[in-house]
């Protein structure tokens, strides 16, 4: 990531300097959310599907060990090599060693948030391996030397012009070109060449099926398949929570995934890999990297049910107006904010506070994760653990003092209202964090309490 990590609030402040840009970002993601709504409403059983998916995932968490062992056995019977990695470093070593064994120095990769989480590209590049991201959005951010800003739409923070300039520099497209068709075609030609010449391909895993040993990879571009079917060696990396019990459960999840993500009825390619093709080697790496710890936290383990659709990001008023990079974590948005503190409470203490707790994320989640409740609970855990900055602590203590003394509360409310009316500059200034990027509301003439007391008397 960046050299010095800015907290979410600081990074959002930078993001919000360009108002038309923020409006555009906000509207673009809201449009995706609306597509999701339209698409989900076409299925009368949508809510039952969500409930079913949630129950299947609950079962998965409760039987994880057995399902993983069953999956491993089936996969081995299918001729697939299975590796286990306790953390990012072990995962990255396994990949490097496999490539070394085959004397391979260049690899194509399709979308895998897990490898982002493990900072695999950086590690491999330091060890002399050239990794090319093949999803168009991921290739764009890779050329810009920045991480994806969204798990499904990696380059959603960029405008056509940014991509035009980038491709002009790296792919030799015409200067000033911004036509998406033309730019995508240039990327197609550029990446075809990579597909044709790379001997190793790494893909993520959307679902791993315990009863068949197969894993499913979904893409719209076809890049996972182009890579995997041409390479001598296919490596698939999965967080262990990707396991589902039976093939028929895919029926539930594939109906939910794309509709939740982009509003499509299903992704263009839903590839079921079971056995390597003749002469090919297939490897699966099952990764922990903090997941067993999260599993042990009763309040937060549900976050492991996530199927990475991104719906919670598209709907989140904070994400839409602060951008994915301000979360300084591989997975941004509401779900990222409940996953990240598990990895490092100090580094990610700011994220559970990057929310209004409006609950929209929980309402759209296809596997019914209680995201906003978890954001709230993380705040308690982080404050108790001393991970919350002093200033926030002072503010919260002051608020608790006011709120616990009714008479003082009434007096300060009256004082606040009169200050906002008579001397508005006292609050409408840059010292008040609530004034940043927004106007203070018109203060009401009286509080609800005053109104209630008056009307009760009458």
């Amino acid at each position: 990531m960046s050299k010095t990590i800015m907290e979410h609030s600081e990074a959002s402040e930078v993001f919000n300097r360009d108002e038309p840009y923020v409006d555009w970002h906000d509207e673009t993601l809201w449009f995706v959310r609306q597509k999701r709504d339209k698409s989900s409403k076409l299925l009368p059983e949508w809510e039952e599907l969500r409930e079913t998916a949630s129950q299947i995932k609950n079962y998965v968490l409760s039987e994880l060990d057995e399902l993983l062992v069953q999956f491993e056995q089936k996969a081995k019977e299918n001729g697939v090599h299975v590796h286990w990695a306790a953390n990012a470093a072990e995962h990255n070593e396994i990949v490097l060693n496999l490539l070394k064994q085959h004397g391979i120095t260049a690899m194509v990769k399709s979308k895998s948030m897990l490898t982002e989480e493990c900072h695999m590209n950086e590690f491999l590049s330091k060890n002399g391996i050239d990794v090319i991201d093949t999803d168009l959005g991921e290739r764009i951010v890779q050329l810009r030397k920045e991480p994806p800003s969204h798990i499904v739409l990696p380059a959603i923070h960029l405008k056509k012009k940014d991509i035009g300039d980038l491709f002009h520099e790296h792919l030799g497209t015409e200067a000033g070109a911004t036509d998406p068709q033309y730019l995508a075609e240039a990327a197609r030609q550029h990446l075809r060449d990579k597909f044709m010449t790379r001997r190793a391909a790494l893909t993520g895993v959307n679902f791993a099926v315990a009863d068949t040993g197969a894993f499913v990879v979904a893409t719209n571009e076809g890049n996972a398949d182009m890579g995997a079917h041409l390479a001598d060696i296919h490596i698939a990396s999965m967080g262990f929570e990707k396991i589902i019990p039976k093939q028929e459960h895919l029926g539930v999840f594939l109906r939910l995934l794309a509709r939740s993500a982009t509003g499509q009825p299903v992704t263009a390619y839903n590839s079921h890999f079971k056995k390597p093709r003749e002469g090919q080697e297939m490897h699966i790496i099952i990764v922990d990297n903090g997941r067993t710890t999260q599993l042990g936290r009763a309040d937060f383990r549900n976050s492991l049910k996530c199927i990475r659709c991104g719906a919670c990001m598209n709907t989140c008023p904070v994400y839409r107006r602060s951008g994915g990079h301000s979360y300084h974590n591989a997975v941004a948005g509401p779900i990222g904010s409940i996953l990240a503190p598990n990895l490092d409470m100090t580094k990610y203490a700011d994220l559970p506070f990057a929310s209004t707790l409006c609950g929209s994320c929980s309402n759209v989640c296809p596997v019914k994760i209680d995201i906003h409740d978890q954001l709230y609970k993380w705040r308690q855990v982080l404050a108790k653990g001393g991970h919350v900055p002093q200033t926030k602590g002072i503010g919260i203590r002051a608020m608790s003092m006011v709120l616990s003394q009714p008479r003082f509360y009434q007096w300060s409310g009256r004082l606040g209202r009169s200050v906002m009316r008579t001397v508005p500059f006292m609050v409408n200034n840059s010292l008040n964090p609530w004034y940043k990027q927004r106007d203070m509301p018109e203060p009401p003439k009286e509080s609800f309490r005053d109104w209630y007391v008056r009307n009760r008397k009458e």
Binding site: N78, H229, R277
Partner: protein
């Protein structure tokens, strides 16, 4: 091996109490006419559907649709005269030249326009992706309602298979849809009556 044991040990220690799987995982949003729903869905995802009586008629249609195109390949014996590119290659990289490919596939799904194809139908797995343009032919009677029905029907035990819905696409440049990302630039589905 040590890592594996340690991961499993931690999972056993930390996992929640056992819950049960939902008894019902099927839902009955049925379509009165699966074929018209299938066509409607595919049209929305940039795919043309062509109904033909038999393989011979398919060959005629293919001649019309792809007139003047070179590097045409197929897995359908009745189309051998139409094709000019042999799939009998050892190295799948050689398939890069294919301009249009017509493949037999197994069945379609009305609700999302996906078609199942697998090792059973393919000499090379990369074929449906590497070709510039793709057409899949399924029996006209082989259209199921939704993904639940699809998996019930799926008894495929081959090593690889895929539900393909429409041509390859991307919206990664400012959410503008571009058809033809890495895979097929266009897609046609043939429904064959006497297949």
């Amino acid at each position: 091996m040590q890592t594996r044991e340690e991961m499993l040990r931690k999972i056993r220690l930390n996992k929640p109490e056992r819950t049960s799987l939902p008894a019902n995982i099927r839902f009955d949003s049925q379509y009165e006419d699966t074929e018209s729903k299938f066509v409607e869905t595919l049209t929305a995802i940039y795919t043309e559907v062509v109904i033909v009586k038999n393989w011979e008629e398919l060959a005629v249609k293919a001649g019309e649709l792809y007139e003047g195109v070179v590097n045409k390949a197929t897995t359908i014996p009745e189309l051998n005269n139409w094709a000019d590119f042999s799939l009998n290659v050892a190295d799948p990289h050689e398939l890069e030249m294919i301009e249009i490919l017509i493949l037999k596939a197994e069945f379609g799904v009305a609700e999302n326009g996906a078609v199942w194809i697998s090792d059973n139908y393919l000499p090379h797995r990369v074929l449906p992706f590497i070709t510039q343009n793709l057409a899949l032919a399924i029996p006209r009677s082989a259209i199921v309602n939704n993904m639940h029905d699809a998996y019930e029907r799926l008894t495929d035990t081959t090593g690889w298979g895929c539900f393909i819905a429409g041509p390859s696409k991307t919206a990664d440049i400012e959410q503008s849809l571009v058809v033809g990302a890495h895979g097929a630039r266009s897609m046609v589905i043939f429904l064959v009556e006497e297949a």
